[in-house]
């Protein structure tokens, strides 16, 4: 009887295991369909440029599906990156807690993986149905990369399954191979993201620099230019063209694609988006994991569970912080590249149609930094001996809040002022606060926030420890001096930034500010590691003794990250305005207008609600399975008795 039951259970287990790969096949089938149907769809172009999506419209449908797919995708790409590092730490330190935590991360990932694939399938379906002509054009250019994507997708799927299901079996001497699988999983995941990024960045910036083009493409471009301008000589056509000149990859009259697939992939904004998303995935993955841990902490019944999830929440937040700190630098680079690709697009982004989104972004990043610091400071409450750092806290809060205030001060106040206030100011810009609206002030503020957050982390790291190094006094003076002089340098460079040409500020001064912040973090970390190498423990970390408030902050951080990704994703995509492919393929659908900020915010809010409902459901399933497992163990034991 028991054997029969066991067989039934096994069959059920096998069926469950097959369910996920089956779901993963959905986008695969759709991609193959896309490849097969592309010529037919192309023939059908004149008949159906667009097909309406019922009730909510095509754009909203594609928007919601794409953003949800991206959020889940970001999670499942970000989590394995730090899971494998944590697993490695566990392996090297022989601390099983790390291994357990890394495995728990991957379990969360497994739940989200099939949902990501399913949403990807839904997105492809919506795009093929609603935008056949656009998809035909894109698949005509990127066909080979789509096949490569499918191959990578297979690779990622099977590696993830091997990595996850092989976790318990590949302990001990096989651990090295297991870690290799983890690395391979990340390689596949990153490659997948890079491939899909090429499609969407191409839509925004279908051009690349002359110096990067092959001779054949250069020739095709020249011929098309001469054909468009009868009477123009070759010398005239090449006038003013340098290696840095952005060259469109299409014939500007007919829209015919002139370049190679690689040139389309390596378009102007591809690499900045890749880097921005790569770092963003780590921050987002960390924040979602931290929110999950916070939830588990709040509902935990035992001391052990509270301690475990407190530790997990701390680790998640630490990872999110590690991603968050370099993220503004990567974002700045992306913004710079958008300006360089097309100045009009840059002005639309930062000074015109989308500029208020960047004020909302500043508010949200302010919330992230304040929240992350709050969590660190709360965490110091559970470490004996951390109280000595509490006296610096009010100053650090003041610095962060002043910097956030500078960052979120709009340049032009006309939209949020009455006419009498505008008259009193003498225009749309406040004569003094208006200076905070310029990028040199904002960059200065960001760098100071980052340094202050790093200082918080340094205090956290030092809490409960007493250095024994003979040079500790000198070391502390050196660290204090580094912080002081770097902060002064960053502020001075920021002030100088008001007086120099923009080119110099963007390409020299701002990178110097970033460099100073990075050098400070590296130098101080090295000094601190050596100073505290043989430190004596003056207090222990009482895991599990965090305030509930700090856990709600972790949940708030995850929500803020999600909404930030939604809103800035809208900015990145909306920058194209009424173009499917900027300057090449115009959007002539009824949705060819830039939605109001309020409408965009509403859509992003809906996406967030759906995302958290789905994430909550997946996490709940995990919890449910865990409970069932725990209940099953005693039952089986009873049966065995």
């Amino acid at each position: 009887m028991r054997q029969h039951q066991q067989t039934r259970l096994d069959i059920r287990g096998v069926a469950c295991r097959f369910k996920k790969p089956l779901l993963l096949l959905v986008p695969l089938i759709l991609l193959i369909l896309l490849q097969t149907l592309a010529p037919a769809v192309a023939q059908d172009m004149s008949e159906a440029e667009y097909r309406p999506f019922p009730k909510i419209g095509s754009r909203n449908a594609a928007w919601i599906a794409a953003q949800l797919h991206l959020l889940f995708g970001s999670f499942i790409l970000g989590v394995p990156m730090f899971a494998v590092i944590i697993e490695f730490i566990g392996w090297k330190t022989k601390d099983a807690r790390y291994d357990r935590m890394a495995q728990e991360f991957i379990k969360l990932c497994m739940g989200a993986f099939s949902t990501t694939a399913l949403l990807g399938g839904v997105l492809v379906f919506i795009l093929i149905w609603c935008y056949p002509k656009v998809m035909s054009k894109l698949s005509g250019i990127f066909g080979p990369t789509m096949i490569f994507y499918v191959v990578l997708f297979f690779g990622e799927t099977f590696t993830l399954y091997l990595y996850s299901y092989g976790w318990d079996k590949m302990q001990g001497r096989h651990k090295g191979w297991h870690l290799f699988l983890g690395v391979l999983l990340n390689v596949f995941g990153t490659a997948i993201m890079f491939v899909s990024n090429s499609w969407l960045t191409y839509q925004t910036s279908p051009g690349t620099q002359y110096g990067k083009l092959s001779d054949t493409t250069r020739q095709s471009w020249l011929e098309s230019k001469l054909a468009q301008n009868p009477g123009m000589t070759q010398t005239e056509a090449m006038e003013g063209i340098t290696d840095a000149t952005v060259i469109p990859l299409h014939n500007e009259t007919t829209g015919e694609f002139l370049a190679t697939v690689w040139e389309a992939v390596n378009n102007f904004t591809w690499m900045p988006v890749n880097i921005h998303r790569l770092i963003g995935n780590i921050a987002f993955g960390g924040s979602i994991v931290a929110a999950y841990a916070a939830f588990r902490f709040l509902v935990a019944k035992t001391k052990e569970d509270r301690a475990h999830y407190d530790w997990m929440g701390y680790t998640g937040n630490f990872i999110a912080l590690c991603g968050l700190i370099p993220l503004p630098f990567a974002g700045y680079w992306l913004g710079r590249e958008i300006y360089m690709f097309n100045n009009t697009m840059g002005i639309n982004m930062m000074g015109s149609l989308f500029s208020w989104l960047f004020i909302i972004q500043a508010v949200m990043i302010g919330v992230l930094f304040i929240g992350a610091n709050y969590y660190l400071w709360s965490g110091m409450g559970r470490i004996d001996g951390a109280q000595i750092y509490a006296r610096y806290r009010p100053y650090m809060i003041a610095i962060i809040v002043i910097c956030v205030a500078i960052w979120m001060t709009p340049r032009t106040l006309s939209k949020i002022s009455t006419s009498s206030e505008l008259s009193a100011m003498g225009g749309a810009n406040h004569p003094h606060l208006g200076l905070f609206g310029l990028m040199t002030a904002k960059n200065t503020a960001v760098n100071i926030i980052i340094l202050t957050t790093f200082l918080s982390f340094l205090f956290y790291r030092r809490s409960g420890k007493s250095p024994t190094a003979s040079w500790k006094k000198v070391g502390n003076i050196a660290i204090s001096s580094i912080f002081f002089f770097s902060a002064v340098s960053i502020v001075v460079i920021g002030i100088v930034g008001f007086t120099v040409p923009t080119d110099l500020r963007v390409n020299v001064l701002t990178p110097y500010q970033v460099l100073i912040a990075l050098v400070v973090m590296v130098a101080v970390t090295i000094i601190d590691i050596f100073m505290y190498r043989k430190a004596t423990m003056s207090g222990t970390i009482k895991w599990g003794e965090m305030t509930d408030r700090s856990q709600y902050v972790l949940i708030l951080l995850a929500i803020t990250f999600t909404s930030l990704m939604g809103l800035m994703g809208y900015a990145r995509s909306g920058l194209r305005e009424a173009w499917h492919i900027f300057g090449v393929m115009q959007d002539t659908s009824p949705d060819a207008f830039t939605p109001l900020l309020s409408e965009a915010v509403n859509i992003v809010a809906i996406i967030m609600v759906i995302f958290f409902a789905l994430v909550g459901f997946i996490f709940w399933l995990g919890l449910w399975g865990e409970k069932k497992k725990q209940q099953a163990v005693p039952t089986e034991m009873e049966e065995a008795d």
Binding site: I347, S352, T412, L413, T418, N429, H432, T502
Partner: protein
């Protein structure tokens, strides 16, 4: 001397910050700050206070102590009654202050900067792509300083014959005709104006004026005339040279990409 409670200290800081922003910065140091911006800053200050008091349980309890005492302690009956009267009175005064305001039309909801077209034109002639067009006389600055000087002088002449009535003799947007205009003429002495734009953008704004502004981001309500109907192409380029020469700000240029 009795030490102030944490609650009172926080209250004093909060009110002090408001007084500082509203009256010290808004009247003594600078011009008034719009109410919405003050509200934004006060929100941040409130968050800072909440962070400070709630990081540690002990501090949070200390902060709440006077509130708890006021609400439940038998010895604090007088204070409780005072608060019970004061809170509605403050709310009443606040509500009254909102309703008693004179009718005040909202500010102009225009964007910070209009979105430029992809192509730069002069009348119907296409000059080139907005991104690529450069001031044809800019290279004289290095190559032929005398010729450059002549173009700047011509730009000065054009400016004082046509532009200074609104943009002012110091290029600060304070011309004789400026005050009734809404929006006010651009202040070229502001570090956020000339350095943020390529010369092609400035050419576009001058040549097309208010009526040539894009449909997106309306209403613009700019009083700027269509200068291409009155000035030659070279005169517009010259006046741009003059603007940057006089203010010392260089228009935006781009280095190499990634």
């Amino acid at each position: 001397m009795k030490r102030l409670s944490l609650f009172t200290t926080c209250l004093i800081i909060f009110v002090g910050c408001w007084v500082f922003l509203r009256f010290i910065v808004g009247s003594v140091i600078s011009v008034p700050i719009p109410g919405s911006v003050v509200a934004m800053y006060m929100g941040l200050i409130l968050i800072a206070i909440l962070v400070h008091i709630s990081v540690e349980d002990s501090r949070f309890r200390e902060f709440l102590r006077p509130l708890r005492e006021t609400l439940v302690d038998d010895n604090r009956r007088v204070r409780r009654r005072v608060v019970a009267v004061l809170v509605p009175l403050v709310l009443l005064a606040y509500t009254y202050s909102i309703f008693a305001q004179r009718a005040n039309p909202p500010g102009n909801p225009r964007d910070a900067h209009p979105s430029p077209p992809l192509e730069l034109t002069y009348k119907d002639e296409v000059i080139g792509k907005m991104q690529e067009v450069e001031n044809p006389f800019r290279h004289y600055e290095k190559d032929e300083p005398e010729a450059f000087k002549a173009h700047v002088e011509n730009g000065r002449r054009v400016y004082y014959q046509n532009c200074f009535y609104c943009h002012g003799d110091d290029l600060d947007g304070q011309g004789h005709f400026a005050s009734p205009l809404q929006p006010l003429p651009a202040n070229f002495q502001d570090p956020g104006i000339i350095p943020n734009f390529q010369e092609s953008f400035l050419f576009w704004r001058i040549s097309k004026g208010g009526p040539g502004l894009p449909a997106a981001g309306t209403p613009w309500d700019s009083a700027m005339p269509i200068w291409e109907n009155m000035l030659t192409k070279d005169e517009i380029w010259d006046v741009i040279l003059f603007l940057s020469d006089y203010t010392g700000y260089q228009p935006r240029t781009f280095g190499e990409g990634h």
